[in-house]
Symmetry: C3
Subunit: 286 residues, 3 copies
């Protein structure tokens, strides 16, 4: 029987051979398994960004084994785990630190889980700092070849898995208080809100919005895509993961507004007052 495909996401970056060595270990164990690199550019140790990227990606990947490593606690008491989920018999392999939780939840929840520290598929000796190479990659490859979870480790209670909960948007004082979840490479800022949150906060879709951050206000428009506003202008749109996001057409919202992950901002209806142009200067991109 053919090997299942293996997707691979990490914060290993492109500078070092970490991701490459994991790919090599997989190729030794499962030469026929297709490896699909999702990204290795998750910011170092940023479990939340990794979790969002994984949950956003998996619905588009073939069902198979899903290797994910963002693991600041490597070698400590956090558990290495493999988790089978309800949908399509997918298996996620990685550290039990919340990284995999949003994906697990989105795909129907965990139905079986094993702890991997003594896995018979691990490479020996297991280093204290590179479980990607020594535990996660060889276990993922063995599962891709057909190993059952009980063969890969010791059963644990699926309910005991670490959870990661994202902050919620808050309708308040005539607006919607939101948090920047992450900034992508184009400078677009993903928010913890969806289109329906705008409706719930009674923000009219046909009126300009004000984006308030740190005391200053910026005029924005609701749009479908970047080009729905003029070059250099701010647009609030539903991104490809159906989150609200902030962009500057042909520019960087992150740079224009100084946005960083974790920043809070408020979306509210723009005033129609005479002084609006003063309080809502044009956002420029370079």
């Amino acid at each position: 029987v053919a090997a299942r495909p293996i997707t691979f996401l990490s914060d290993y970056g492109a500078d070092d051979e970490f991701a490459g060595v994991c790919r090599a270990v997989i190729a030794r164990v499962a030469p026929e398994a297709r490896v699909i690199d999702l990204t290795h550019g998750v910011p170092r140790h940023d479990v939340r960004r990794g979790a969002i990227a994984l949950a956003d990606s998996l619905p588009y990947t073939p069902a198979g084994v899903h290797l994910a490593v963002v693991d600041p606690g490597v070698g400590t008491e956090r558990r290495p785990v493999a988790v089978r989920i309800a949908t399509e018999d997918r298996v996620l392999v990685g550290p039990d630190n919340g990284l995999m939780w949003p994906a697990i939840e989105e795909l129907g929840g965990p139905v079986e889980a094993v702890e991997l520290s003594g896995s018979r598929f691990r490479l020996e000796p297991v280093s204290a700092t590179f479980h990607g190479r020594d535990v996660f990659a060889p276990v993922a490859a063995a599962i891709a070849l057909g190993a059952a979870l009980p063969d890969a480790g010791n059963a644990i209670e699926p309910g005991s898995l670490s959870r990661l909960v994202l902050p919620a948007a808050r309708p308040e004082r005539g607006g919607l208080t939101v948090t920047v979840l992450y900034v992508d490479g184009y400078g677009n800022a993903a928010l913890n809100a969806r289109a329906e949150d705008l409706v719930a906060a009674e923000l009219p879709p046909d009126r300009p919005l004000a984006v308030e951050i740190g005391g200053s206000q910026h005029e924005a428009r609701l749009g479908r895509t970047f080009g729905d506003v003029a070059v250099g202008r701010l647009v609030v749109y539903e991104d490809s993961s159906r989150r609200l996001a902030l962009a500057v057409n042909r520019g960087s919202a992150s740079e224009a507004l100084g946005l960083r992950p974790g920043d809070e901002l408020v979306l509210r209806p723009a005033d129609d007052g005479a002084d609006q142009s003063r309080r809502s200067p044009r956002v420029r991109s370079d």
Copy 2:
């Protein structure tokens, strides 16, 4: 029948999962298709740099499907297209914004083209901002599996495709005025000129050259490779795409001369005058 290989070039970068999700979509549709990543490091929205990289790469790739996404106008009126070209039945898939034009031209011109916005192979719903995932990748995969272009979209006139024309070098005032097309990761600057342009401008191959930029002059030599000049010196050479380029041996021409894409400079014969050493200081690299 086996799937054709798919090459993939974009400006999606390494920080996010964009390129990875497209690879995943391809793997779902065409599990057997080999995906060859050309680069995802095209500077964001830099259609010209992407177009050059694509045209330079395709002669070295297997014939197949060639997915290219540098798409600042995503979701607006620019057309998503697939284009079959004369050579080896290759098909290019991407936005009709000039990105694919130099490659199409170099490989014999377009013989058939379809518009993809209503393609039966697209993922639904199509997001407004991620056509790589929702349109281009699944269409490329379907074509790699053997779908004919008329099945993938609505026929359009090949002559209507957007063209991208690079600036031309100009022989003038005893020299050759050239433009920096791009700077590579080593700091080498590719120019819009070829060796024959030097001949046409009557620049003698056996004499030192002066590179004039923004009023200052730098001495250079024509060479075959970096090591043909001393460490830290400037060399004008024919690069691996047969363009003239500027490099500093073991250094960065871009940093040494402050070069950026779009900069104009003049190549002319170096003076033999007594004051040459003053006007042509040694270029240093760090």
Copy 3:
């Protein structure tokens, strides 16, 4: 017969299409060969860093053909070579500039070598500056398909291959003088020493260490992994390649101590004196 897998390491970076074009050339010659990218993020022209990454990776890769290109002298007198090594019939392909030497040595030494500049498998014309595309990639692919070394180039004496020798740690003055070999993407600094060097230098494993660099001292502890010290503290540990390394838990040792490759530092027992806290301030990470 199936093609052997090809691993690929270079300093081509992610910005340009260099690595992608080499992958494309391989796919043309050997469509069935699996290509495993180890890394293309070796610092530009850093032969030593590339050599260490290659030697550290190969024991984890499938036996096959191992393509490696960090080649500041491309097009000059340095030889392009293919080298067969004692272990598992592996073949390394790349420039003869020391890049491949530590891996060759670690895997049992060279048993056969050929010079490739006139290889019948090269692409013609061979450019002067992109031997990865024109010489190394097509030769590697041909060997992966089964070509014997004598068919790929002219036999040379294995003993004539360029060697690269790393600096050795030196026990002296009650401590161990070590050199930073490289800094990884997390800011961890790999040292040219192993656990046994600490023993030889009579540094007690159960006592705090002082790390002396440029006249200032920093307190550290020996640990197994990052989490064995408090957040922001310095740990000396055995890394996944069994080298001693310096890390800051959840931080960057490189930034905290200003470390760069080539820096020398001294590991010695920390004083137990009353003034220790003053001389060994807490290292902070951001």
